[in-house]
């Protein structure tokens, strides 16, 4: 049951969006978010939404995938929408009501903004493998090394954590089965009781995680790991034609949104 959990949620594929360099995709996501927050009117929202849908089609990501990811956010979306409906001043829908036309319009835009924001982020994680993502991040953050930020160590930790997620999930599953076999009950009782029942899982899990970490450190040292200095990479990231094209389109998109904003659209 625990095996169904997928973190990072990457859908392998070979589309244009998949083939883009991870660095390009990270930068474009930032551009996209900036553009989204520059949008003021329905016209600019329509443009952003159009670009999002276009990217989804190119990356073979169905709306279903996006909505699945949206589910945990429904509460926040609903709350934002409600607050905006009630707290925006303007012409009331019916004389004497607190709900205004402006409020309805504004909350609709808010919903759209959050949905587009999440959809954009998912487009990145759905089409980029976690490893490519951390590699891209390391490359992008490289200049920070000059400021003594441990970029290599941070990204190594990230990819190592990703590597061990399935291993630890499998281990948790095993421990849970072992505890269940001895009569442990994780499903019934009050919240407190269930939380307490988790303790016999967490303790062995942590002990084993530490032992693994120790063995892994020895194994890494045995393979001549001595920090990020002087390391080379087998897979060199190289920006291709499509990356430059994507950058150009991204710049064009941002410019368009800013121009629309300038005219109040």
């Amino acid at each position: 049951m625990l095996k169904d959990i997928t973190l990072g949620q990457y859908f392998p594929g070979d589309t244009v969006v998949h083939r883009l360099d991870p660095r390009t995709k990270i930068v474009l996501l930032i551009v996209y978010i900036v553009a989204l927050f520059q949008a003021v009117s329905w016209w600019s929202y329509a443009l952003v939404a159009f670009v999002t849908v276009l990217a989804m089609i190119l990356g073979h990501i169905t709306p279903k995938n996006i909505f699945k990811g949206l589910k945990p956010m429904l509460f926040i979306i609903a709350l934002t929408a409600l607050l905006n409906v009630f707290y925006t001043k303007g012409t009331p829908v019916v004389e004497g009501w607190i709900i205004t036309w402006e409020g309805i319009g504004r909350s609709a835009q808010m919903i759209l903004r959050i949905v587009l924001l999440i959809a954009g982020t998912f487009l990145l994680t759905y089409t980029t493998s976690p490893i490519a993502l951390t590699d891209g991040l390391e490359k992008l953050l490289n200049p920070l090394k000059k400021l003594k930020v441990p970029v290599h160590e941070m990204t190594l930790m990230m990819s190592m954590a990703l590597r061990f997620i399935p291993t630890l999930i499998e281990e948790t599953d095993k421990i849970m089965s072992a505890q269940k076999a001895r009569g442990a009950d994780f499903e019934t009782g009050s919240l407190m009781q269930r939380a307490k029942a988790l303790l016999p899982i967490l303790v062995p899990l942590f002990v084993s995680a530490f032992r693994r970490a120790d063995e892994l450190a020895v194994a890494m040292e045995s393979r001549c790991y001595h920090g990020g200095e002087g390391r080379t990479r087998m897979k060199q990231m190289k920006l291709q034609g499509i990356d430059y094209a994507a950058f150009a389109l991204g710049a064009l998109f941002l410019a368009a949104v800013i121009v629309l904003r300038h005219f109040g659209l």
């Binding site: 590597r163 399935p166 291993t167 693994r212 194994a219 890494m220 040292e221 001549c224 002087g230 087998m234």
Partner: protein, 278 residues
């Protein structure tokens, strides 16, 4: 040529009471396949960890290609000469993709990217895992994972490969895969192999068998010669191959039989020969 040399090595864990290694003298020759056999707590894993400077002797010294392992400034030189494979395959694979994991050691050594690619492909072919290069390690079987770990070590191009109980967590098929892989690496690629194990059947194919007990070497010689010391092996809580056992029991009954016929056929021939004579 001697590649690893132990000179009167004693070892006690810091703060520990018991001496784990009590005066080991051992020379390992280039290109040989050495198996180290011993029950739990005999010090065989500690011995292995001395070979690439994970542990350094409390007394005495270990030389790898003439380099003292206690010399911290030569640590990387020792480790790139001696590759180490550990017991738990999960805890030595660092990357999410097989080929990236194999590339880890050469990347650490600063090898140029094109050469890493070559080394990775060669290493994966040598262990027969080339078709799996794009796979996620956690979806492989135990034996396959362990072969990836071996590839990860040979991509470093070491002279010596030390395997510390690589089969302890594997099923029989996985054990077979690992043992035949390392045997092939030794026979075909001339790599020196040190295999630490407690399965006596994995030692049969070795050139030399070293038996450890209580931090000492109690027997050292060809597998046939070592296994024929049946009483010694049993005293150390180790089993001998069934063929040796059979020959030993028959000898006790007064048959004139040699003890060094290890494989089934040689054993059958020996018994048939003895019956013809009598």
């Amino acid at each position: 040529m001697t590649v690893i040399e132990f000179e009167q090595v004693h070892f006690t864990y810091p703060g520990g009471e018991r001496e784990i290694l009590c005066g080991i003298d051992l020379r390992i020759e280039s290109g040989s396949f050495v198996a180290v056999l011993g029950h739990n707590g005999s010090g065989k894993s500690t011995l292995a960890k001395h070979m690439n400077a994970i542990l350094t002797p409390t007394e005495g010294r270990v030389l790898v290609h003439g380099i003292d392992t206690a010399d911290e400034s030569r640590l990387l030189d020792v480790r790139r000469k001696v590759g180490m494979v550990f017991q738990n395959p999960d805890n030595q694979i660092v990357a999410n993709v097989v080929e990236d994991d194999v590339a880890f050691a050469p990347e650490n050594l600063g090898v140029p990217p094109e050469e890493i690619r070559q080394r990775v492909d060669t290493a994966l072919r040598q262990v027969g895992m080339y078709e799996f290069r794009q796979h996620a390690p956690h979806l492989l079987s135990g034996g396959q994972k362990q072969r990836v770990a071996i590839a990860g070590v040979i991509a470093m191009q070491p002279d010596i490969i030390v395997l510390d109980e690589p089969t302890a967590m594997l099923d029989p098929q996985g054990r077979q895969e690992v043992v035949s892989t390392v045997t092939r690496l030794c026979r075909e690629n001339g790599m020196t192999v040190v295999l630490i194990t407690h399965h006596m059947d994995e030692c049969v194919g070795a050139d030399r068998l070293v038996v450890m007990s209580e931090g000492r070497i109690v027997a050292d010689g060809s597998p046939a010669a070592v296994f024929s010391q049946v009483e010694l092996m049993e005293r150390e809580g180790l089993t001998v191959p069934e063929t040796t056992r059979l020959l030993f029991d028959l000898r006790a009954e007064g048959f004139d039989l040699p003890l060094d016929a290890l494989d089934t056929e040689a054993c059958a021939d020996a018994i048939a020969g003895s019956l013809k004579r009598s």
